[in-house]
């Protein structure tokens, strides 16, 4: 029996697992997909939000403000690239100028320092490609960018290095609370037992809560479509450029990513199910139109890919992080939409406090190690160091992904390192192999071969992202 079962291996479940791995506890993460970071954590804007947006007094405001520095620190400890590039919120009219004042006030009330409103010309001095239509901008110096799935992978990898278990392809079908513990059953008849159950199931968290007997909230999934552009476009802006937020979300942004691409999006449309991650013609057109409203020079002929993520929103608009009023021992960490990524570490700490209040015994581990080896140590070496390293590790000399310059050694490493990659998308998210402009056209056959070798399976068993997503339909 585990002390704590966490349902959901996204950034929230991951950061919580890492936080719990500091203590003498047995912890297991249950995840229905073939990899971690497969929900909203793989498809969002990757922004460290400056804290001016949440309504003062809400949990969102509290944890956003508390989370910013914690996220920078944790990412650095985990060797995940994070950049404090700053953001600006652009107004395009008198009415919107007024709204910037409101955001500034909110930010001040939320305890954010350093915010200022600058003129359109001042904004264009900082960002020369910014539209001439921008009238004023809120400058947010503490904002930043980070790769959300890389952060999740690193947090869970580090938690696993510190003895947390991860069980993939485990779709929860039944939760029984008996006298001693929760018994969680999966579609494949596996069962896990845990004294405490923490629901970090993202867009599925209402369903998980209901399975446990708590029907107190409902998730309204809202999809957001994005277009990712080539690194050729990555230098177009330095700051993350927002438009004034609307009820649906923080508006369409134009931002560099930590990997040097340009990201535009998201839209905000309520959808029927969390599975609705299909892109649409109207959605993609909206992204193009609104991105070019802020930065007219964005060249969408340089598009690499488009994708869609689903936010786990709730009608009251705030995070739900509390011990269930219906089921003892269940903690819901739900309705974590934006700024969930920014708040992730603060949410994890807040949740541990709830666990404490429920009576869990926390004793710090003596040998906890919060550092994770940088999976990109090789790409960050200079040529001399690379040369030395290749002489001892020849696999690092063979480039598999030419667009992103990823070697066979780096790919084999992430299949062996925690949490291991089992499919082609998993390798892609960990190494960027297939993430470049050819989108895996050249490297995918080799990646399939390496995955098959490392996991000792046939190439026809290798999938794109688990379950039925087979790539090859048999040997000729």
């Amino acid at each position: 029996m585990y002390d704590v079962l966490i349902i959901g291996a996204g950034v929230i479940g991951g950061m919580l697992a890492r936080e719990l791995s500091k203590y003498e506890l047995s912890v297991c993460i249950l995840e229905k997909e073939n990899d971690v970071a497969c929900g909203a954590s793989k498809a969002n804007s990757g922004i460290v939000h400056g804290g001016y947006d949440p309504e003062p007094g809400t949990l969102k405001a509290q944890l956003n403000t508390a989370g910013i520095q914690k996220l920078y620190d944790t990412a650095r400890e985990l060797n995940v690239p994070i950049k404090n590039n700053g953001s600006m919120v652009c107004a395009f009219s008198e009415a919107e100028n007024g709204f910037l004042e409101e955001l500034l006030n909110r930010g001040n009330q939320n305890g954010i320092s350093g915010l200022s409103i600058i003129s359109g010309d001042e904004a264009r001095e900082l960002e020369p490609e910014l539209s001439k239509e921008v009238t004023k901008a809120l400058l947010v110096p503490n904002a930043g960018i980070v790769c959300p799935y890389e952060l999740t992978i690193a947090a869970i990898g580090n938690a696993m290095d510190n003895a947390v278990d991860l069980s993939l392809n485990f779709e929860v079908t039944e939760i029984v609370r008996d006298e001693e513990c929760f018994v969680v059953s999966g579609a494949d008849m596996r069962k896990f037992e845990g004294k405490f159950l923490i629901n970090c199931a993202g867009a599925y968290s209402d369903k998980i809560a209901k399975l446990a007997g708590d029907g107190t909230f409902e998730i309204i999934p809202r999809c957001g479509e994005y277009i990712l552009l080539d690194k050729e476009e990555g230098g177009l802006v330095g700051h993350t450029v927002f438009q004034v937020p609307t009820k649906e979300g923080k508006g369409i942004l134009v931002t560099p990513t930590v990997d040097g691409n340009l990201l535009t999006g998201p839209t905000a449309v309520a959808v029927d199910t969390p599975e609705s991650t299909n892109t649409t013609v109207s959605g993609l057109n909206k992204v193009i139109e609104l991105a070019q409203k802020s930065v007219p020079a964005v060249d969408f002929r340089q598009t690499i890919t488009s994708f869609c993520g689903v936010r786990a929103s709730e009608k009251n608009g705030d995070f739900i992080i509390e011990g269930s009023k219906k089921v003892e021992g269940l903690i819901n960490v739900a309705a974590i939409d934006s700024p969930g990524l920014t708040s992730a570490v603060a949410i994890a700490e807040y949740t541990v406090e709830i666990l404490k209040s429920l009576g869990i015994k926390l004793e710090l581990k003596k040998n906890w190690n919060g550092k994770r080896t940088d999976p990109h140590f090789f790409r960050n070496m200079n040529n001399e160091e690379k040369n030395e390293f290749i002489k001892k590790n020849p696999e690092y000399g063979k480039i598999v992904c030419r667009c992103e310059g990823v070697s066979e050694g780096e790919i084999r490493r992430v299949i062996r390192q925690n949490p291991p990659a089992f499919d082609v998308d998993g390798v892609k998210r960990r190494t960027r192999s297939g993430m470049g402009r050819c989108q895996g056209g050249f490297c995918m056959p080799t990646v399939i071969k390496i995955l098959a070798q490392e996991h000792n399976i046939s190439m026809t068993e290798v999938t794109k992202r688990g379950s039925g997503s087979v790539l090859l339909k048999g040997k000729l």
Partner: protein, 415 residues
């Protein structure tokens, strides 16, 4: 740092032919860097025939054509680094490559770019829908089938009627898969006529012109696609949408010259060809760096790749020997009905025939092709037809070159 006279980046048909030509022009110190285990480039997976009719006077398969040139390279003892990827190129011709033995840095007297091209991906097209397994660029599918020996699917739709798409329609049929449709967004195919006949018509595979894939369906593996007709602005006509069940979608929607190293070296790129701007010697605007093959412009026939590579090889050899003429040059440009002209610059001192290669903007019937310079018509020829999928060529003889008094335009007149 190692020093070599000529470094060739890429061991496909362009790199091999350039190496042989440079050798035959007196240069012995030549190395080829090739990222694959075996030279031959993309030809190794092109197991169909039709290669070499122009160049070698015989009809060969891709690997056979590659073997002819690999053999010539081997016979001359030209050094090939296999499994070696060039990662950096500087404008002063320092080439940095990586393989399992380490990092190699070479100072070259001349560099020949022969990196080939890559396929445009689904992402670049912004097709809406889900992102399941089962969507391949046609060349990736070709490699999986022909080199790795795997089936990629049982029921396929192909988007794009470029040559690789057409070849793969036949290949899938031969492997027992059904090809439900080939959709082409343009009103005409971008492939060779012979491929439309031999790969589609002979196998009863329907080609839908003015059609595209409007949406992709399926969560894990592809389950089907919605295809639709497009209007003259290539916008989807909603009423024409229809669903086709399939487990595989192949994309043959264009090739992009792979010019990352070219850009790194600060070489000017032609926005139309996607390759370097070159003169008739295939020299780029960075002295001593030459380009040929699909990295320079996407060819439809490998025979022309070899021709172009020979020009680059001969020129690089002359450059090393300081024999490349330095003279006044004029620009070439596209007139009516012409998409691009290559080379983009030519010297007026030429003493040899100079070929201008070009592609037309749309299918034409009988046309007169004219090369003009100011008021002078340098040359003109008549073609009974001209299509975008087939590269055209017009030759300027030395006496015509003497008539050049300003920039040159290639233009079409419909007859």
């Amino acid at each position: 740092m190692i020093k070599n006279d000529i470094v060739i980046i890429g061991g496909g048909p362009a790199g091999l032919a350039a190496a042989v030509a440079a050798y035959e022009n007196g240069i012995r110190d030549i190395v080829i860097f090739d990222r694959e285990q075996t030279t031959g480039g993309i030809l190794r997976q092109c197991i169909h025939n039709g290669f070499g009719l122009h160049k070698l006077g015989q009809e060969l398969t891709g690997p056979e054509y590659a073997d002819v040139f690999s053999g010539m390279v081997a016979k001359r003892g030209i050094k090939i680094y296999n499994n070696t990827t060039v990662t950096d190129l500087s404008s002063d011709r320092v080439v940095t490559a990586r393989n399992s033995e380490g990092i190699i840095e070479v100072q070259a007297k001349a560099v020949i770019l022969a990196m080939g091209c890559r396929e445009r991906s689904r992402g670049a097209l912004n097709i809406s829908g889900t992102r399941p397994a089962g969507i391949y660029s046609a060349g990736t599918a070709q490699r999986l089938i022909n080199l790795e020996g795997f089936s990629v699917g049982k029921k396929a739709v192909i988007l794009g009627s470029g040559d690789i798409g057409l070849i793969m329609a036949r290949r899938l049929s031969l492997e027992g898969a059904t090809v439900e449709a080939v959709c082409e967004i343009m009103p005409y195919s971008g492939g060779l006529t012979r491929n439309i006949v031999q790969c589609l018509e002979d196998y009863n595979i329907p080609l839908y012109l003015n059609h595209t894939v409007a949406e992709i369906h399926g969560k894990d593996r592809l389950e089907g696609v919605t295809i639709a007709e497009v209007d003259e602005n290539r916008r989807i006509i909603d009423q024409t949408k229809r669903y086709i069940e399939c487990d595989t979608l192949l994309l043959s929607v264009g090739l992009i010259p792979e010019n990352e190293l070219t850009r790194q070296a600060g070489i000017t790129i032609d926005p139309v060809t996607g390759g370097a701007v070159v003169d008739e010697f295939r020299q780029t605007d960075v002295s001593g760096i030459f380009a040929c093959g699909n990295v320079l412009q996407v060819h439809d026939l490998v025979d022309y790749v070899s021709d172009e590579a020979e020009i680059a090889g001969v020129s690089a050899a002359k450059f090393v020997k300081s024999q490349l003429p330095v003279a006044q040059a004029v620009n070439t440009s596209s007139g009516n009905g012409v998409r691009y002209v290559l080379p983009q610059r030519i010297h007026t001192c030429g003493t040899e025939n100079t070929d201008l290669y070009f592609r037309v903007t749309k299918p034409f019937g009988k046309v007169k092709i004219k090369v003009i310079s100011g008021d002078n018509i340098l040359n003109q020829v008549v073609r009974v037809r001209a299509v975008p999928g087939e590269m055209e060529k017009i030759t300027l003889k030395p006496e015509m070159l003497k008539e050049i008094n300003q920039d040159i335009t290639v233009t079409l007149e419909e007859m």
